[in-house]
């Protein structure tokens, strides 16, 4: 009995109470998995004393969380959904934060010849034509939504044995693609930080259709009076500040830049960081 009590004391004693000044941000797995937050947020907390709690889920679920008022801000990457969210009045003050791009990855052998294609749409056509295995997130995430839009642009409604919807995150999709030699679409950040590539390679990138912008939205306090709008706005102001934008631009994995800050100039073509992201393979 005394041993058990001692154990409990040890376990509980080592924990201090969490700080009172915190905000919750609903965000995407891609930003989380890349390690950006681990790198960025401690700096924000150190300067402002505000703790940031990131709940990283698919964009669809992140929107839902914010819509229910379970987060104070939203940092996602699917513009049409974000606009709808703003239009419905759930969010206010959207700002561009950064972008990177989507890429098509697949087995090194590249049976569908995706790497020879001119653009992403052609790449998908080739995959469908060869009925090569393709892993789709199938989870209403930003990446999945973008993938669906691209199939639509290609005029293909993908189905058949070769098209596998797994209903899981980016990492799970990459793990699966790597183990069954399939193609998939990933955001560049997750891809670069992914550690189980196996024979997978980046086959196609640099198409404007693959532009992947991230924006921050504050949850509307008129819908949810309990949200910490002031703290959330402090964060929003900070992340688009020159200081934070520089930090984002300096974040690299294996000497590759993962995100291009674009709070000042929201177009990819504006050339905020044209050289640092290798846009063409």
């Amino acid at each position: 009995m005394r041993l058990v009590l001692a154990l409990i004391l040890v376990v509980y004693g080592t924990f201090s109470n969490a700080s009172e000044r915190f905000i919750t941000i609903a965000s995407t797995t891609s930003t989380q998995n890349s390690g950006l937050y681990d790198y960025l947020l401690p700096i924000f907390t150190a300067t402002t004393g505000i703790e940031v709690r990131v709940v990283a889920v698919g964009t669809g679920q992140a929107l839902k969380i914010a819509q229910n008022g379970d987060a104070d801000a939203l940092l996602v990457h699917h513009r049409p959904s974000e606009d709808a969210f703003l239009a419905m009045g759930y969010g206010i003050e959207r700002r561009d934060v950064m972008y990177n791009d989507f890429i098509i990855v697949g087995p090194k052998a590249d049976p569908a010849g995706v790497s020879n294609q001119e653009n992403a749409i052609n790449g998908l056509e080739a995959i469908a034509q060869h009925a090569s295995l393709f892993i789709s997130r199938g989870d209403e995430s930003g990446t999945h939504k973008r993938e669906s839009e691209m199939w639509a642009l290609a005029g293909i409604s993908p189905n058949g044995d070769w098209y596998r919807e797994i209903g899981a995150g980016m990492g799970a999709a990459l793990n699966m693609a790597s183990s069954v030699d399939a193609y998939t679409i990933s955001d560049r950040g997750t891809w670069l930080s992914f550690n189980n590539k196996g024979t997978l390679e980046m086959l196609l990138a640099g198409d404007a259709a693959l532009f992947n912008p991230y924006g921050i939205i504050l949850v509307n306090p008129q819908k949810h009076p309990h949200v910490k709008i002031d703290l959330a706005r402090t964060f929003s102001d900070w992340i688009v500040s020159d200081e934070a934008q520089k930090i984002i631009g300096a974040f690299t994995i294996q000497n590759m830049q993962l995100f291009c800050p674009n709070a000042k100039s929201p177009k990819a073509s504006d050339g905020v960081c044209p050289t640092s992201v290798p846009m063409q393979k």
Partner: protein, 232 residues
């Protein structure tokens, strides 16, 4: 070998982040076990001892609840705790408290059923004797739980193990927030999704070692009393 090495390294280095994650896992699951036990042990014992209206219904329901997948428990708690849900104004979604609630609900039926099973044989032995002594209901509960304590503790342990090992519920209601609601299992899920399979496995081994350690400890404690347990 490299994975085992990595696991050992993780433990030896006692990296602050890992210690925090392990500590939170233990804190959440221990608290959940204690809370679940607070209700499940007396109720489980009562189910073993007394006949009362709806007893069979309760038993069937609680046994069925054991089959409930953690994600479903997580989802229900999520909907209750969400700002849009009935308990939203407490603002405890995405906190360790929410994880404790989810795990308590998850393991309640396990502790309940195992307590009932632990008490049944002791009650069968003791019933006449306690009746002859006019033992009050509360005293009877205490006596039976105490004299079946080693089996009851085994049930607690099973509940604790399930709590410590589950990921589905805590990831939904906790949100896997770094440094705040990230526990061992959600870390393993996250590292797996990042393709860090070796790190994930190493963490899995750490989790397993902790489980073995705790089980060995409790087993060791209970072996002191095992001799009293022999039924005639």
């Amino acid at each position: 070998m490299t994975i085992l090495g990595q696991a050992a390294e993780l433990v030896v280095s006692a990296d602050a982040e890992l210690v925090g994650i392990v500590g939170l896992s233990l804190r959440v699951s221990l608290t959940a076990t204690l809370i679940a036990s607070l209700f499940a042990i007396p109720l489980g014992a009562a189910l073993a001892i007394w006949q009362f209206p709806f007893r069979q219904v309760l038993i069937v329901i609680s046994t069925s609840l054991m089959a409930l997948p953690p994600v479903v428990v997580g989802l229900i708690i999520y909907l209750l705790l969400s700002r849009a849900g009935p308990l939203g104004h407490y603002g405890i979604l995405f906190t360790p408290t929410a994880m404790i609630i989810a795990q308590s609900v998850l393991i309640f039926p396990i502790v309940l059923a195992l307590t009932r099973e632990a008490i049944l044989p002791v009650n069968r032995d003791y019933k006449n004797l306690l009746d002859a002594w006019d033992v009050s209901p509360v005293q009877r509960l205490k006596t039976l739980i105490w004299d079946a304590r080693f089996a009851v503790v085994t049930g607690l342990l099973a509940g604790f193990g399930r709590a410590l090992a589950e990921v589905g519920a805590v990831i939904i209601v906790g949100g896997n927030i770094a440094g705040f609601t990230r526990v061992m299992t959600t870390t393993i899920a996250l590292e797996t999704s990042k393709g860090n399979l070796e790190l994930a496995l190493a963490l899995g081994i750490v989790l397993l070692s902790i489980a073995i350690l705790i089980n060995a400890l409790i087993h060791w404690i209970s072996s002191f009393g095992q001799k009293y347990q022999v039924s005639r």
